[in-house]
Symmetry: C2
Subunit: 292 residues, 2 copies
């Protein structure tokens, strides 16, 4: 295999622009729903502790809600919150008819059983797609909410007309809310999907054959440009300190056909999908209520 | 890559012998539970229609139950059963305290929503591991029942001390009860997992790199012996008319290090896991009741 370098640099996959378009549609749907039912869609955001990055993420999400006509209700819990307390809070929000979607900001701290917390979110309010139920629904093509980052990645691939059927997709990372579900979504679209991870023996060999690479590990520039197959599509879902992704962007740029920048690629799409799913959840809940 | 042929034929992975050992342990647990609680473990088997292969499978499972000291209660439904009727039957069995495990024999007929039927099985009685909940639990390493064939495959790999960490595993097939879950179980054991399927562009290329092959498609001898990497471990979960698996057995025998025969490999392990999980379900339900 000779290290061919394309003469044309990759086209950037503009997540900011796509997220804006999706956001406009979401805002229109939210306005229409509010007009029709008298109630605005409402997202509850739950944050445990005061991790600065998490505080920023939640604030960004709430700002974007406000712009889209979605009410957000913030629940700030102390860092010392127990699993039982967090489960009780999420259970109460799941029961609250004025809340349509629930976001538990990840991570929640080492002493909390995060899975138990996620499972306390009612599936019909799981607009962040973090429950076991949502994962299984994604895996089997059943109705349900997708995990937001995987959902955003699929939207980006579709917006750039990436053909997935029969193509080799390599997912680097196997987390519950990113690697595993995005692999299942790619498989549902008939890609041949390989899950690579920290124990993979020869990551480069897998990458060199990949038509689509999804980097989802959170290790700065783990993926070297020289390992990208010429003409590949590169999705960088990593976001590391210093605005660095999981892919050596400069190195990959000359080889890939399409690539997401960091920031401005996957990140904005994650929030766009969260908001879109919040409105979808509100539509179902408010309309079901109106029908009664 | 030169087509090296090993001079020593592969060792057979004897599913019949391993299933016998697992079955003896299960029978001992069933006897102990019956002695302690006065109630024998009970598996409900549900069959829709009279497909000859399905009739045979259910009979085999019930015979094996009887030998292990598990009571089986058979529910035979006419081929014309509707989804609603089947869901109601499975719901009633899920509520029935004298039933500890439920097996719905697959397939159920084109006119029935099989997923809706599976989901009517309570997760704590899902000893065949077919619900979305069981799949998600398998995928995330949470407590729950495994799908029986994937579970049996993992037991075989362990019995023959197959090291999976960092190894390339290729799963051919992506069904809900076999391909998808076995891939997730292999991933949980740190294999680098590739899902291949009918749309995969170059199956041979994937197979030639695979340290472990799991064939799970139900297409006779789809996998050619010459595509097996010398020294690979070959698990053939296919079972086609005429006792033919998904792998060209004779061709693979001279290249693989370990291979499952068909029949006598994966098949017996599927039933062994079903029975073992039925007893585990009964233990939990009867002991929870005794504790009250």
């Amino acid at each position: 295999m000779s290290p061919t370098t394309s003469t044309v640099p990759a086209q950037l996959m503009d997540g900011t622009a796509l997220a804006r378009r999706v956001g406009e549609e979401t805002a229109a749907r939210a306005a229409e729903l509010t007009r029709r039912t008298g109630a605005a869609p409402c997202l509850a955001t739950v944050l445990v502790g005061e991790d600065p990055a998490s505080v920023t993420y939640v604030r960004m999400k709430r700002n974007r809600c406000a712009k889209a006509g979605i009410v957000s209700r913030h629940v700030a819990l102390p860092a010392a919150t127990t699993t039982e307390e967090l489960v009780a809070t999420l259970g109460a929000l799941s029961e609250d008819p004025t809340v349509h979607g629930i976001l538990l900001q990840h991570p929640v701290g080492e002493h909390i059983d995060e899975r138990a917390a996620f499972e306390a979110i009612a599936p019909h309010k799981d607009v962040d797609g973090v429950t076991l139920s949502s994962f299984a629904a994604m895996s089997f093509g059943r109705p349900g909410f997708v995990s937001c980052t995987p959902g955003g990645i699929m939207r980006l691939l579709d917006a750039y007309d990436v053909d997935l059927a029969g193509k080799r997709a390599v997912v680097v990372g196997r987390s519950a809310i990113l690697g595993k579900p995005v692999g299942m979504l790619l498989l549902a679209r008939d890609a041949t999907v390989t899950y690579c991870h920290s124990r993979t023996a020869d990551l480069s060999a897998h990458l060199r054959e990949a038509d689509v690479v999804v980097a989802a590990v959170g290790r700065p520039e783990l993926i070297r440009g020289e390992d990208i197959k010429p003409g590949a599509v590169v999705i960088d879902a990593g976001y590391n300190p210093g605005n660095v992704g999981d892919v050596d962007f400069d190195g990959a740029l000359s080889r890939a056909r399409l690539i997401t920048p960091v920031p401005g690629g996957v990140g904005p799409m994650t929030i766009a999908v969260l908001l879109e799913q919040t409105v979808a959840a509100a539509e179902r809940q408010l309309e079901a209520r109106a029908a009664r």
